[in-house]
């Protein structure tokens, strides 16, 4: 189990991370969200000991992380970088060896990972000949090839097309199943919702949201209602009690409710004549909560 306890870091007058405490258990995925400069990368850098925390501790199974154990952390940095004039194999083997892996084993695993992440090209190809997406896959291989039990992924989906983003998501899910502890940051809230067990939202270094993703959403109440009832117009919906706003959404309407309870009365009204194609009352999406929280603290 990884435990971050009361971590603090300042740069000059700026509080980069303030009193951050969080735990990640084996087989759990923690999503770290926040605007640019919220303190996500600083948190990762403190875990990896690139920078020292002003106060607070980072432990692995209750022990401070030793240098040897730190080398067992798989890390995909936000700033992607590879040796452009080296081949995929040369640099993957070099970094795998630095992580303590045997060369021959790394060679075998490289073939497996290139196949799994569908890297276009051969192991002997120079990195400078790769597309951005393929280079990012190689970078992901560097972070995962040595089978780390703790993985840090800083913006793993940025710059990827939906197909490759899905490929990365599947990989993360598989690693989770295998018992890895994963912490990742992302600006894509759909991805965070799909793969995170827990999330921490940072705002200027402070923790403004923390907990299980579904529980956090539920805590905001089921105030989003999608309804398809052909006999009702936008004006009809707007006139209903507890409806704050109405938006046309595809074949139906999206209603923003003042409170969750208003949904029951609306359900009774729209179904008084029987069947309607759709009625879905949901809590706000993570993206909506993110926007709300960002604005609320400004």
């Amino acid at each position: 189990m990884i435990t971050l306890s009361h971590l603090n870091k300042t740069f000059g007058d700026k509080q980069a991370v303030s009193d951050l405490s969080v735990t990640i258990k084996p087989g759990e995925v923690l999503g770290l969200i926040g605007q640019n400069g919220a303190g996500k990368t600083t948190t990762f850098r403190m875990i990896l000991d690139f920078i020292a925390a002003d106060s607070g501790t980072v432990t692995w199974d209750g022990q401070p992380i030793s240098d040897d154990r730190r080398r067992q952390i798989g890390f995909l940095p936000e700033e992607r970088g590879l040796y452009q004039k080296e081949s995929i194999e040369e640099q993957v083997l070099y970094l795998a060896e630095l992580h303590g892996m045997q060369k021959e084993e790394a060679k075998r695993e490289l073939a497996v990972w290139m196949d799994k992440l569908q890297v276009v090209g051969k192991a002997g190809d120079l990195v400078q000949t790769l597309s951005k997406g393929n280079a990012q896959k190689v970078q992901m291989i560097l972070a995962l090839i040595f089978k780390p039990k703790f993985i840090i992924l800083d913006e793993p989906f940025s710059g990827l097309d939906p197909v490759n983003a899905a490929l990365f998501m599947d990989t993360i899910k598989e690693l989770k199943k295998q018992g890895a502890m994963i912490i990742f940051s992302s600006h894509n809230m759909d991805n965070v919702t799909e793969i995170s067990d827990h999330l921490v939202m940072l705002k200027e270094g402070r923790t403004v949201l923390q907990g299980n993703v579904q529980e956090i959403r539920e805590s905001f109440g089921r105030t989003r209602l999608y309804v398809e009832a052909p006999q009702f117009t936008a004006t009809d919906f707007a006139a209903m009690a507890g409806v704050a706003r109405v938006e046309k959404a595809g074949a139906g309407y999206r209603l923003y409710l003042e409170n969750e309870e208003a949904g029951r009365a609306i359900f009774t009204t729209v179904t008084k004549d029987g069947y309607i194609p759709a009625f879905s009352q949901q809590p706000p999406t993570l993206a909506e909560i993110f926007k709300t929280e960002v604005m609320a603290h400004e």
Binding site: L48, I51, D67, R71, F75, G81, L82, Y83, E86, H99
Partner: protein, 408 residues
Amino acid sequence: MNKQISLVAKHTYLTRLKKKSFWWLLVAPIAPVLVGAIVGFAVAAFSSDKSAEVAVIAPTQMRQAIKSDQKELNLKVNNQTDETKAKQSLSKEDIDAVLIIKDDQGTLLTQPKSNEVDTSKLKTFLSQMALSEKAAKYQLTASQVADLQSPFKLTSKVQDKNQSKDSEAADTVKQMLTMAVGILVFIIVSIYASIIGNEIANEKSSRIMETLLAASSAKAQYYGKIIGVAGLLLTQIAIYAVAGTATVLFSANASWAKSIAPYLSALTPGFLFFTIAFIVIATAAYLVIAAIAASLVNDQSQISQAMTPVTMLALIPYIVALSSSSSTGNNTFVQILSYIPLMGQSIMPSQLANHYATWWQASLSLGLTFIALILLLHFGLALYKKNVLSYSDDNISKQLLRAILPKK
């Protein structure tokens, strides 16, 4: 940790070794010498390609002697023995020269398009012939002739209780040595500082540094890179040493080797040891400074800016070494500088060769340089660790000063 340092060192070393630039670096300092030697050999070979055809008008015995040695004299004796006809042939450019010898006097007539006659060889040969004739005339024995011909032997020695072996080096050789060491150290320091600078700047600008640090540590990267680049320097020195030794062994009897032998008399094993030790230790110290400076850059475009302070620092001992190559080398200022780390490596070897310093003094200077290297390594690691992941828009020199000076 040690394994990681060795992995980083190996990677740095092999990556550079595989690049063409390293082999150019190896060839560059000796290329002018090689080209000069090849051109010189070709010119010599070409010029001696065709022997000059000479009509020799001389007493029969002398003519026969020249004819029998014509190959050594690099000429071909023509059959003509009549002076007038020979001169006519010369004016028609049918022959290259006419050699007329009468009453111990010789005249060599040539024409503008003649193949060259080696007059030096010819003169020596004719003098020898004349001497033999005179010796016979005065009834001198062979040993008397040899005794008359032996030159006066003058041996020059400088009184030096510590090392008299080196004292035979001529002043010119000493001056050349002083300049050569200064230039050599400056070139090596500049090149290798630039290599490590580029290495680190490349990793910073390509943003691979975080990946490397996650897989190892700043310490492993820092020491590994310095060791890897120092390994390249040792490889270069080893290749030169092997090539030099092979040249000496295989060319010891060659005329060119004999001609430069006096100039190499000052290169004793002791002097070479100290010079190489100074070069290696001082270059390592400069590598540390270059690593610190390079850790401040954001991208490759700033590398020359970052290396400027390093080159400027290396320039001081270079200038001192050049200016002290004359007799001014033996003054207090230069002697003090020869003990100062990062300066002494260019000055102390020449002080040693010129006998301005003893082996003990050279050892002290080397020891101080080594201590400075250890301190720099320790100090440099802290700065490297601090800077290697930070990217600032400030001027490099300003950043360097800020990193070195204590916080207010």
